[in-house]
């Protein structure tokens, strides 16, 4: 399938394949994502949603094809430049991936420390994003003492702390109750309104219908259909 014409693309995939030994995870996937687009990648479990996201931040490398992120061809990026590519992304994982021995504050601050931000800036920014996600009061808590919804809010705070151009969220509400899921989605929408490109991998079609937006549907590793679903009226 040829890439869709979508204005000013920030992500472009050209005939991307991913194989794990003999197993094919992605088959000839091509599409584009515009700057400041809110897009869903959907499909059943095992369809290749997580693989697709991993390819974007070089958690995995494509077996074939080209991926261009903000003008950078990922197949030609030297290893030492990978951290700089990843700083374009804020990544939210289904299992949160918080560091259990570090406080909420430190979990968020580490993103900025890794970028060499001054201590004062880090303090200001971390408190600001924790306030945004409603977790400032619990900044000293350790992740294992928090509920799933709270941990995911910390993960969102960590994802947006570095002011990324692109947010990648892999099943961000997969293990949350409806109320927590709604809070997380509101946060993602808010960050989208501020100018970020948001890419959410989910199999929750009800959630997609509630939110609305373009959907890339994967089926058995191949791109089945790309369509736009209008947001259901509240």
């Amino acid at each position: 399938m040829a890439p869709a014409d979508s204005g000013d693309p920030i992500i472009r995939l050209f005939h991307v394949h991913k194989r794990y030994n003999a197993k094919k995870a992605l088959l000839d996937v091509s599409f584009e994502i515009s700057r400041n687009e809110f897009l869903f990648v959907s499909g059943p479990s095992g369809a290749g949603k997580t693989t697709l996201l991993k390819l974007l931040y070089l958690g995995e490398t494509a077996s074939e094809g080209q991926i261009i992120i903000d003008g950078l061809n990922l197949s030609r990026i030297p290893r030492r430049r990978v951290p700089f590519l990843r700083r374009k992304f804020g990544i939210i994982f289904q299992d949160y991936k918080l560091i259990p021995k570090k406080s909420v504050y430190d979990n968020v601050a580490i993103v900025l420390e890794a970028r060499g931000a001054p201590r004062k800036t880090i303090r200001k920014k971390v408190r600001s994003v924790l306030r945004t996600v409603g977790m400032e009061e619990k900044r000293r808590a350790l992740p294992p003492s928090l509920s799933g919804g709270e941990q995911q809010r910390v993960a969102v705070a960590r994802a947006i702390a570095g002011d990324p151009q692109i947010i990648l969220a892999d099943e961000p509400t997969g293990s949350l109750d409806a109320e927590s899921a709604s809070v997380i989605f509101d946060l993602l929408r808010e960050y989208h309104r501020r100018g970020a490109t948001v890419l959410v991998a989910t199999h929750d079609t009800a959630l997609i219908r509630r939110t609305g937006g373009r959907v890339i549907l994967l089926e058995d590793g191949g791109l089945d259909v790309a369509t736009t679903i209008p947001r259901l009226p509240a």
């Binding site: 951290p83 990843r86 700083r87 990544i91 991936k97 560091i99 993103v111 420390e113 890794a114």
Partner: protein, 291 residues
């Protein structure tokens, strides 16, 4: 840099038991290496003191004309490494012998003629005072026309130098072995910490942390373990040295020894830190593969 040190110290505190064991092991290694160095430094100083006193005695053939004796003296003085050449006539030699024998000197009166030869005492210039040069010079002097025999404290000097060489070799071998052991222990400690923090490292990478940011604290941890172990080892060595010196002084004696020179202490500390760094490097190479 301050942040890296801060993070390394935090990690060390979080794994304090493991780190204490590592620092103690490094300290013991440094103590043993330092003890050999201390022996070597003092033995070398003693040897240098002794070699200062050593001279080559060149016995001259009988029946040499005064001109030939003078010429020979000038020839010796012009040889490389020679500091001072003194002529000792057979009469002066007899007088020295007489003074040396004191009570038995009457025996010398029974001699019909002085059997001692004229002699040149050759002292070496300071920069040339070592065993090899001594031997070379003695051989050269012995080969000169008019010299019947040369003598210097060859036997005991060689024996002493052999002992020092043996200690030097043993010290180097032991030192190398202990440095390796210390590097191995540091590598293991860092490896254990790395394994326990694999998830965290993975997260840091995904968040855009550079390899320098991720690995820096581990390198620093190795260096700090080396520095702490080195300082503790040197401290123990100094305390032991003072203890022995004080005990000897209490017994009314005097220990003609000195502690390691500052630059050597600094060198050992730097070596210890390098060992820590190498330990970290080995583990980081094994455990963390860039992704």
């Amino acid at each position: 840099m301050i942040r890296v040190i801060h993070r390394a110290l935090k990690d060390m505190w979080a794994n304090r038991f493991l780190n204490t064991v590592t620092v103690v092991t490094v300290a013991l290694s440094i103590l043993i290496v330092g003890a050999f160095a201390l022996f070597f430094v003092n033995a070398s100083a003693l040897l240098s003191l002794w070699t200062k006193e050593i001279r080559i005695m060149a016995y001259l053939e009988a029946e040499m004309t005064p001109e030939a004796v003078d010429r020979l003296g000038l020839q010796m003085a012009g040889m490389p490494g020679v500091g001072d050449v003194r002529f000792v006539s057979k009469e002066q030699a007899m007088e020295r012998l007489r003074q040396g024998m004191s009570e038995g000197s009457a025996l010398l009166d029974t001699l019909e003629e002085n059997p001692l030869p004229d002699t040149y005492e050759v002292h070496m210039a300071e920069a040339f005072r070592n065993r090899d040069r001594f031997e070379l010079l003695a051989r050269r002097i012995g080969g000169l026309e008019g010299v019947s025999e040369v003598e210097y404290g060859k036997e005991w000097l060689s024996r002493f130098v052999r002992i020092i060489d043996l200690f030097r070799l043993t010290g180097l071998a032991m030192g190398g072995l202990f440095f390796l052991a210390a590097a191995f222990i540091v590598a293991n400690t860092v490896r254990l910490v790395l394994y326990s923090r694999r998830d965290e490292i993975e997260i840091l990478r995904l968040m855009g942390g550079s390899e320098g940011f991720i690995r820096g604290p581990f390198y620093m941890q190795g260096i700090l373990q080396g520095a702490l172990g080195g300082a503790a080892g040197m401290g123990m060595l100094f305390a032991g040295f003072r203890f022995v010196a004080d005990k000897v002084a209490e017994g009314g004696g005097f220990l003609p020894a000195r502690f390691l020179p500052d630059e050597m202490v600094l060198g050992i500390l730097m070596g210890s830190m390098a060992v820590g760094w190498i330990g970290s490097y080995i583990s980081l190479r094994q455990v963390l593969k860039a992704s």
